[in-house]
Amino acid sequence: MSDAPPPNKRQKRTEKSDSELPKKKFYRQRAHANPFSDHSLTYPKSPKSMDWGTLFPAFVRKEQTASDTSTEEQENRRAQDNGAGSDVDGFAGMTKHVEVADIGCGYGGLLFALSAKTPETLILGLEIRTSVTEFVQEKIKALRSQNQGSGLYQNISCIRANTMKFLPNFFPARSLSKIFLCFPDPHFKARKPKARIVSGTLCSEYAYVMRPGGVVYTITDVQDLHEWMVGHFAEHPGFERVSEEETEADECVAIMKGETEEGKKVERNGGKKFVALFRRAEDPPWP
């Protein structure tokens, strides 16, 4: 159950130039990870200590370098900016804040498709498997280098993370407008319901990082898991299911169905795709 692939693969990965696309065959990894394990993750101790500038260099505020500004100055600047830049706590020094999270982004199919669709929206892919994360990071690097003139692919980035434990370490309250949960690990074993990416208690965390009105997108080819996810989001007072017509009309749904690596695979194998969207409701007034 080692995280690391054999070293020969790792060597082959480095035998390419920066602008060359990485080859997926060198980054294959077992499709499961234990979300309860400690792994050896790096994560910020709070959203305020997250270094977004390295992930999205094109969206760093020009007039300053991140290192030599005190929080006080940053706060002043934020006040002056008055909405022009990112006003979300935890994204100081950025012109925009991350609004979309692709949780379990895998090989990044959705990220790359969304990047062109919404070039001004910052999208972060989060993936728990080391090699797969590296693949996406390499691909982003290569694509950015290939598209220097047009500035494409600057709005996407990918990090390794266990979001089931550390989502609030990355994202401040009410900062996300979209969360994608595409073809998550179904965890067939009935004994481990808590290992699934959706559970009643995790819905509270998704609600916390989302702004009211934001939407969680789910897609899976496993009917049981679909029913499970629908059941938990529907039961959670913080979410309401988006109507079928609205779901069909959402352009992200088409991308999610057609552009994700897993979506293409299901297509090839003639499997079914189950889609469900949930809108983050306003918090109820205090009793």
């Binding site: 101790k45 089931m164 609030p168 074993k189 808590k194 559970s199 208690t201 080819d221 913080g238 194998n269």
Partner: protein
Amino acid sequence: MQHPYQCICVCHPVGGDGSGMLLAASGPKISSVNLQNGSIVSSWPDEESSPAHETRETSTPEGPPGKKRKIAQSTETKPNVIQLTTSHDHKHVIAATGEDKCIRVFAIDPTGQLTQLSERYNESLLYRGLELTMPRCMPKRPCAIAVTPDNQTVILGDKHGDVYSLPLLPEDKDPSQLVPERAEAAPRKAFVPAATNLTVHTGRNLKALEAQQKQKDLHAKTKEPPKFESTLLLGHVSMLTDLLLATVVPDEPNAKPRNYILTSDRDEHIRVSRGLPQTHVIEGYCLGHTEFVSKLCIVNDRLLVSGGGNDWLGVWDWVRGELEMKLDLKDLLVAVRQDGLIPRTSDASLRDASDTVAVSGLWACHMAHPHESQLLIALEGVPALFHVPISQLVAQYQCRPDLEYTALPGNLLDIAIHTPVSATSAEHLSSLNEVSLIVSVDNMHALGSTSQPRSEPTSQRLLSLPLCKDPEVKRWGIDERSTALLEAANSAEGPERGGKGVAALCYGVETLRKRGGGKEEEEEG
């Protein structure tokens, strides 16, 4: 050798004389001690009667077969008490036991007599005409319990990260309802594998699926629901370490008080959720620890102190989620060692252990004069009580807080704050001046060690530390006269236990630390 008292608390039973009772758990045994005369009033479980319920099956059948689980050593071994608390009205005592993962509720009468409200079928108790309910076994080991201010509900956090609410006293149901007959249970849904050949593709998975589909009478095994009322309130995907209930009156005019649940976990989080009935709303997090958080303590209204595997305590404005200050513990721990309290040793493992800090207890000790109120701190495996004035734990306090320590003759395990209560509340205020601490220390392990046995074991397990009136003297001092009052409890025969079991029961905090090298935080000043 007598087992140390791993949990202690003070209770003032309704109708009692106000001197209070000490409840002390030693291994699986809970004793109540009259603090007026030092006599042991009652113990649980009763030695002579060994109720059949004690050996009942602890784990409900669950999940698909195949998982090997550790069976609690032998059925004869009684489960150890891991949590002990009282309801706010001091009518009930709630204990959590480890091996069987149960919550047990006791009634405490004015004389300090403990009666477990949980042995419905125990004839010997029935004739006393007590209200009786079953011990409630949770799916996972309970690790923190709290009682809501209205004394109606127990909030319980478990090792798997989930927080449940249970009624303190379950409704008196018909016995037949309590033990549902299996035969009458609704026929189970035929098992259909969740996977299909459209969702699994690799050779081995397909083979496994084929085998599943062939098996005709395979039933979907679902976890048997608990036989008592419980509601899942919130959960962490981590090990839950502590849980607090708090109430805050917002600044806005005419605002109603707001209830909160604060939870901490092994992954450095402190989560602030709304209280019942809106526990699904997360209000915020207090983030900043870089090691596990093991203890939370609200010292006043909006000030929260947190401790764990970092060598500092976090002081938070928890409503806003802001870290107000870090209280360094390392310097004082070094001083404790230099003062010779922890013997120097050549044992390398011991030295390593003493370099880390693991906060095992935090208590707010309120005095009549708020500026005298103190925060009490226990570090795992350290024979000293650390204390600091709460009034100095504010960001505006310019000087270094006066963190001091009182040396103890054994590693500090638990503290019970003893405030004798008089009949009227007016007198109650003045009696705050007579606050004293009852401190439980480890009589089996060497000072400063969580593994090394003592060369000369003692039976002294409980000490009384009144507040010194003399400002020149250290705040708390061991008082021989009042400690002598605890003689009966100190000399009481405890259960015989091997050293390893004791260490596991008394020293569980350091084990929360993640292995594989601690990453050092970058300081933010």
